[in-house]
């Protein structure tokens, strides 16, 4: 079991009540996940949990034996956001997940090791190699890339760089200057009244014929379906993926982690898949990993038969 894939808990994408966040990380401390990413990655106005709180949560998780990484904001606009990023990148206690090139620059100039997140564009071996020279220790495969590309990248992966795959969660698809949650309430971004608190898994956007298509999470747009790669764990293991990321949802995250924990230890997949589906807010998709439209879902059988 020495080369068992590790499990990580990604940063919380949503705006949750403070107590829910604190309870969440109490549970995380006892979970099977080895790595925990902390911090606000979407909107700098979300401050129920402040930077100092994140450090305190991180220290406690470290005491529980977890590897803790602090995640940076994905879309930087205001000068104040840059000041926060600089503080984050100066911290002595934790490695940082860079979710934008500004963070990569600050960390590499400071000679600090770093991780890149799922919305940081590493699409080829040459990018990977250059960033490895800058201090990249782990990267998350961009969510729109599939197993074929992952295979090519793993074949040319630089020494000392771990690969992480976004294994479960509503997909981070886009970021904007505009706050869509505020817009859907006819509120300006500067007076959003923290409406995101009402949508702990994002606000549903349906087509005019009621297809549940996307969810709005402040300035971020996500998939309505939950991307999940349970059926592909054997392939991911064969490709020597190091870490599987579980992106938090408001409920059932720890049951989901248990499922992935059983699966990585070799439990039969079909019954786990059924159980997993019952824990998701809507349904599942896995198309991206199989080189298809991200919203599609392909059953495991089709995958094994498909030629490279």
């Amino acid at each position: 079991m020495s080369n068992m894939m590790k499990l990580s808990i990604g940063p919380i994408q949503y705006f949750w009540e403070r107590q829910h966040v604190l309870d969440f990380y109490q549970q995380a401390a006892d979970s099977a996940a080895e790595i925990i990413y902390l911090g606000e990655v979407i909107c700098s106005k979300r401050r129920l949990v402040k930077p100092d709180d994140w450090f305190a949560i991180g220290e406690e998780l470290k005491q529980s034996g977890k590897e803790v990484i602090l995640s940076s904001l994905t879309l930087l606009e205001a000068a104040s956001e840059m000041s926060s990023l600089k503080r984050l990148c100066r911290n002595e206690s934790f490695m940082v997940e860079a979710n934008d090139i500004s963070a990569v620059q600050l960390l590499s100039v400071a000679g600090r090791d770093f991780v890149t997140g799922p919305s940081f564009n590493i699409y080829n071996h040459r990018s990977l190699r250059l960033l490895a020279g800058k201090g990249l220790k782990r990267w998350v495969l961009p969510v729109e890339l599939g197993l074929d590309t992952l295979k090519d990248l793993q074949a040319q992966r630089p020494e000392g760089v771990e690969t992480e795959v976004f294994a479960l969660g509503r997909l981070p698809l886009a970021y904007s200057a505009r706050c869509y949650t505020a817009r859907s309430h006819n509120l300006p971004k500067d007076d959003c009244q923290y409406k995101c608190l009402d949508y702990p898994d994002g606000a549903m956007l349906k087509t005019r014929e009621d297809q549940e298509f996307l969810v709005l999470n402040g300035i971020q747009t996500q998939s309505a379906l939950t991307h999940q790669v349970l059926d592909q764990l054997p392939e991911l293991k064969a490709l020597e993926v190091d870490v599987l990321r579980i992106s938090p949802q408001y409920e059932h995250t720890f049951q989901i982690i248990d499922i992935f924990d059983e699966a990585r230890k070799g439990a039969a997949l079909p019954p786990l898949g059924e159980k997993l589906l019952s824990l998701l807010p809507l349904g599942a998709c896995n198309g991206y990993l199989l080189e298809q439209a991200g919203m599609s879902f392909l059953p495991a059988r089709t995958i094994h038969e498909s030629p490279r």
């Binding site: 590493i122 080829n124 071996h125 590309t149 087509t207």
Partner: protein, 331 residues
Amino acid sequence: MELVCPAGNLPSLKAAVDNGADAVYVGFKDDTNARHFAGLNFTERSFGKAIRYAQDKNRKIYVAINTFPQPDGFKRWQAAVDQAAEYGVNALILADIGVFDYASERWPDLRLHLSVQGSVTSAEGIKFYFENFGIRRVVLPRVLSVNQVAHVITGSPVPVEVFGFGSLCVMVEGRCLLSSYATGRSPNTYGACSPASHVRWEETGDGTDTRLNGVLIDHYGEGEKAGYPTLCKGRFQVGGHTFYALEEPTSLNTLSILPKLKKIGVSAIKIEGRQRSPAYVAQVTGVLRAAIDQCMLNPDAYQAKDQWMCKLAEVSEGSQTTLGAYHRPWQ
């Protein structure tokens, strides 16, 4: 301020040059650029003619190689870089770190610009590309307010180009996957958003449905003009209301703030629209040329003329324009 104009073919390039473009940006006929549409862009032969036409008249040619290659296609991006360099273009507009690494190593003297697809919104981010690849200009995504653009310019080691007119991406460019979520193809991987291959127009009993890979992007009633189903510009339901939940079909238009852009130190104004007609290129280039000249001559007395605004509205999406993120209330 330099005026940078789009061209998807030779007639458009001539229209841009003849109507006052300082520089024209183009792409090759494949997925190495973010306007990879059927019937668009330059073959080796038409590219040679384009360069001659522009450079004979002392205008610059920039080549956009601004998508993100995966390992199995990387050689195609290298070939695009080499071809452009061998033809003596004035600059390459790149986005991917790997392509930058190749281009700066193979062609150290070639001028490189950071594409809007590079998704960089801060001076720190610009420094990464400046220090590693020696970029000489950056094109900013359409997500910053004017004050934020000014702040970036203050800290930036290189001149800054911004979008002045054209279709409006409401998501930060280079990190928008909405199109591949629905179709498997995105601007990053394939060079097209909401690709025509996946579009369907369906007459229904009471009007027209527009679909993208089966997903209903909008429905238009009888007599309502149906627009192209760009994913972020459809009408959807949120909280029981049906509306343009992400953005209206509208174009960016900065004519009214040109003096402000000049004052904060913007070096170049870009017009979007390599996929548009030569008539569009001629019209928009002509208006922007007149406006920029007026603005440079006397910024204090500058006013966007009604006739300019009318001409631009004629070629705008949904015949309407916006200041987009430059104007804080839009956000």
